[in-house]
């Protein structure tokens, strides 16, 4: 007997499943005789892992570069010569790490460019601020400085501050211009105004040899604000990369049969309609196809949520996401990978996306309130001082100091800081947010709609009551099951564990598996295959030839902590509902196990999306949680959405947030963290408003000097930062749901 089962040390493949069907040669890029490959490595956490992986790969023949980025898990390999890409992948896998080829072409190049530009602006602003502050220090404290030295210092500050402000201020100026053109006022308008006016005023004061110049305050303002922007950009890029990585871990390559009849590995993105694909047993379809030859069974859990496999026959169409179970088939691609969506779902997604882009972020709402008030106050100061007999220059000075001192440092940092800290905390718990305003929307939800298969449940069927079955039956049945990809066989193998496989195994699609165990023929399969009477549930029957068949029951079991999580969510004030595409009996059982009273079965993708839309129309804010192709429309149309890590690409992209792992408690943690983040953001806005209330009278009285401005700006930013950092550590488990 041969032992076929290999326990994958990284846990990426379920026990007994075939090695990843991916052929890395589809991802090799060749340039000037040098081949390169990008891989994602899972499980490398420390310097030891890094040197182990790099040294082992560098030992292979022809390797020029083997460099692991420990922060992102990406391994870049470059080599010359005949080395097979598969060897590289196996070298890493042999060390015990999960490894997948990765298509870097999908990297967020625009996000990376934005981040780089902001980082450049930040470094210039930081050096400029340091230089100007260095020169301002004697101006602040040197009361006995001779006036010509004062002047020199001021002119030098101008020479440094002006170019720095022009370069580092560009992100704000262009954003402010765009906002004004769109007839809106965002946070960058007062910032740009403050910086420009402060520089103009300071230049004037320097030319006429006046009292104070605010060069230091202007660049310092830009410096603090850029920190906020860089953090925000990094957050977006990290979220995008993380989501991309999850995508890469699923099958992104396929086998195409070329016109000459040769099988070649291709990237999913390169598949054209009309291509003939060879789909192995256990492989997932990456495009919509029509079956051309072969007979097998398909697992549609990701497409419709149905747990029972359906028969495949020639001429049948199947959607991307279906898994071929029993036998290899040939199929013709009906659409390119990115077009393999049901047309209806595509339309639903579009409608949902439009809705998301009109959501006004909390920070923008605050800006709309803040901006007119501050400008009005400054104008008022200008007019008032004029009325009191001041010169135009003096009145302008007062107005500009009002603008500077009410600098939206705190306001602009308030939201990004909290979001970054919250996202970081969630990231460490295996949750990836797709955008900054996801947190705000997640905090506002009051009604949750769960999908069943793969979301509320783990998606894989589980052997029910293994202790109630004769141990021998389990062992023998497992020997046949280990050679099959049928979900029930996989569940049986998982329950029994690693072990030998029977000889001469034959799988008959739609019926079962037969093989020789200890010289006797045995069969495992449906009731009709073994001549037994079907019980009506999900079952497999096993018997040696001539013996009475024994039955094994399977069920799609809810995640272990479902009942607790649902209870917690209800305690948090949320209504919980279950909507699934699977049969009524299974849905009812799952709802009961999880403690959910409202449930719907047999839902189509359209009806799911419509249901969510109806709830939203009636004023509820829906949180949709789902993983399959049939959930994508609902995910896009809900106020906020979450997808489990095993979801199809479409659902992951359509959702605000992706959580990994088997535990459903992540949902409760996500909502709790989002609510805490929202409170922090509101607190920060309140603190910023309080700060303004204190400093505006000081500015109107004319008591603001550059030193005062610098201190005020730093202090307000520090307070807001410290408040945001209160979120850095996870809340105590008892209070998590109630904060």
């Amino acid at each position: 007997m041969t032992t076929v089962v290999s326990a994958c040390p990284s846990g990426l493949s379920p026990p007994g499943a075939p090695a990843a069907a991916q052929d890395p040669s589809a991802f090799v890029v060749q340039k000037d005789g040098v081949k390169s490959l990008d891989l994602i490595v899972k499980g490398a956490s420390c310097g030891g892992c890094m040197s182990k992986i790099e040294n082992n790969v560098a030992r292979l023949q022809g390797i020029r570069i083997a460099r692991l980025n420990l922060s992102t898990g990406r391994l870049r390999v470059e080599w010359t010569g005949q080395l097979k890409p598969r060897t590289i992948v196996e070298a890493v896998a042999a060390l015990g790490y999960g490894v997948t080829a990765f298509d870097p072409g999908k990297a967020d190049s625009e996000g990376a460019r934005t981040e780089r530009r902001l980082m450049t602006a930040l470094t210039i602003a930081s050096v400029g601020t340091a230089a100007v502050m260095f020169m301002s220090e004697p101006l602040w404290f040197g009361s006995d400085l001779p006036p010509d030295i004062r002047n020199v210092l001021r002119w030098l500050s101008a020479v440094v501050a002006l170019p720095v402000a022009i370069i580092s201020g560009r992100p704000f100026f262009s954003s402010a211009l765009a906002s004004i053109r769109a007839r809106r006022l965002n946070m960058d308008v007062p910032v740009s105004l403050a910086v420009i006016l402060a520089l103009a005023l300071s230049l004037y004061e320097t030319i006429v040899g006046g009292q104070h110049a605010f060069f230091d305050a202007s660049v310092m303002l830009l410096f603090f604000l850029l920190i906020g922007r860089v953090l925000d950009a990094r957050l977006r890029r990290r979220a995008y990369d993380a989501a991309n990585e999850l995508t890469a871990l699923q099958t992104t390559s396929a086998t195409r049969i070329s016109r000459q009849g040769k099988a070649e590995a291709v990237r999913a993105a390169d598949i054209r309609p009309g291509d003939i694909l060879l789909v192995a047993a256990g492989e997932k379809l990456v495009v919509d196809v029509e079956i051309v030859s072969g007979e097998s069974e398909a697992d549609l859990r990701l497409v419709t949520g149905e747990v029972e496999p359906v028969a495949m026959f020639v001429g049948q169409t199947l959607h991307a996401g279906a898994v071929n179970l029993s036998a290899p088939i040939q199929a013709r691609a009906l659409a390119a990978a990115k077009d393999s969506l049901m047309a209806d779902i595509a339309r639903l997604l579009e409608a949902g996306e439009q809705k998301k882009s009109t959501y006004r972020r909390l920070a923008d709402k605050a800006a709309e309130l803040y901006v007119p008030q501050v400008h009005a106050t400054a104008a008022f100061g200008f007019v008032a001082w004029l009325a009191f007999g001041a010169t135009a220059a003096q009145a302008a000075y007062i107005a500009v100091t009002v603008l500077i001192i009410t600098c939206p440092c705190a306001l602009a940092l308030a939201a990004p800081l909290v979001q970054v800290v919250a996202a970081g905390r969630l990231f460490r718990e295996g949750v990836y947010l797709s955008s900054g305003d996801a947190l705000e929307r997640l905090a506002a939800v009051d009604h949750i709609v769960f999908d069943k298969t793969g979301t509320l449940t783990l998606g894989d069927p589980v052997l029910v009551d293994p202790l109630g079955v004769d141990r021998n039956v389990l062992e023998y049945a497992a020997m046949l099951a280990r050679a099959s990809h049928h979900p029930f066989s996989r569940a049986l193998v998982k329950a029994v564990g690693a072990g030998p496989v029977a000889e001469g195994v034959r799988e008959i699609p739609g019926r079962g598996v037969t093989g020789i165990i200890d010289g006797r023929r045995a069969s495992l399969g449906s009731a009709s295959f073994l001549g037994a009477i079907a019980g009506g549930g999900s079952e497999l029957w096993f018997a040696f030839d001539g013996e009475i068949p024994a039955v094994l029951h399977f069920d799609d079991v809810v995640r272990p902590d479902s009942a607790d999580t649902v209870a917690l969510l209800k305690a948090m004030g949320l209504e919980v509902e279950l909507v699934s595409g699977d049969g009524a009996e299974r849905v009812r059982r799952a709802a009961e196990a999880a403690g959910i009273q409202q449930w719907k079965a047999g839902a189509t993708p359209q009806s799911k999306a419509t249901h969510v839309k109806a709830l939203e129309a009636s004023g509820q804010k829906v949180l949709m949680i789902g993983d399959g192709l049939n959930d994508a429309g609902a995910l896009a149309g809900a106020h906020a959405s979450i997808a489990p890590g095993g979801a199809v690409d479409v659902s992951r992209l359509a959702s605000d947030c992706v959580f990994s792992g088997d535990s459903l408690s992540a949902i409760a943690r996500i909502v709790a963290t989002a609510r805490t983040a929202r409170s922090r953001m509101r607190e920060n806005f309140a603190l910023a408003a309080l700060y303004n209330a204190i400093v505006i009278p000081i500015a109107l009285a004319g008591w603001v000097t550059p030193l005062v401005a610098a201190i005020a700006m730093s202090a307000s930013s520090a307070v807001v930062t410290l408040n945001a950092l209160r979120m850095a550590r996870p809340a105590h488990s008892g209070k998590a749901g109630l904060r």
Binding site: M50, S51, N69, T72, M119, T120, T123, D148, I149, V160
Partner: protein, 49 residues
């Protein structure tokens, strides 16, 4: 006043050198992998480049 005139170009030069260094660091991807850089200094096999 003489000292001043000598010092200031020096300061400006230092500031620009700092800026150039930061620019190079950004360009050559020094900020891409903070965790890896921290671990690499402890690696005995890691050579320059």
């Amino acid at each position: 006043m003489n000292v001043f005139i000598l010092m200031l170009p020096g300061i400006a030069g230092l500031a620009l050198a700092g800026l150039a260094a930061l620019h190079w660091a950004l360009k050559s991807g020094q900020f891409e992998d903070p965790k890896g850089a921290a671990a690499r200094i402890l690696d005995e096999n890691d050579g320059p480049g």
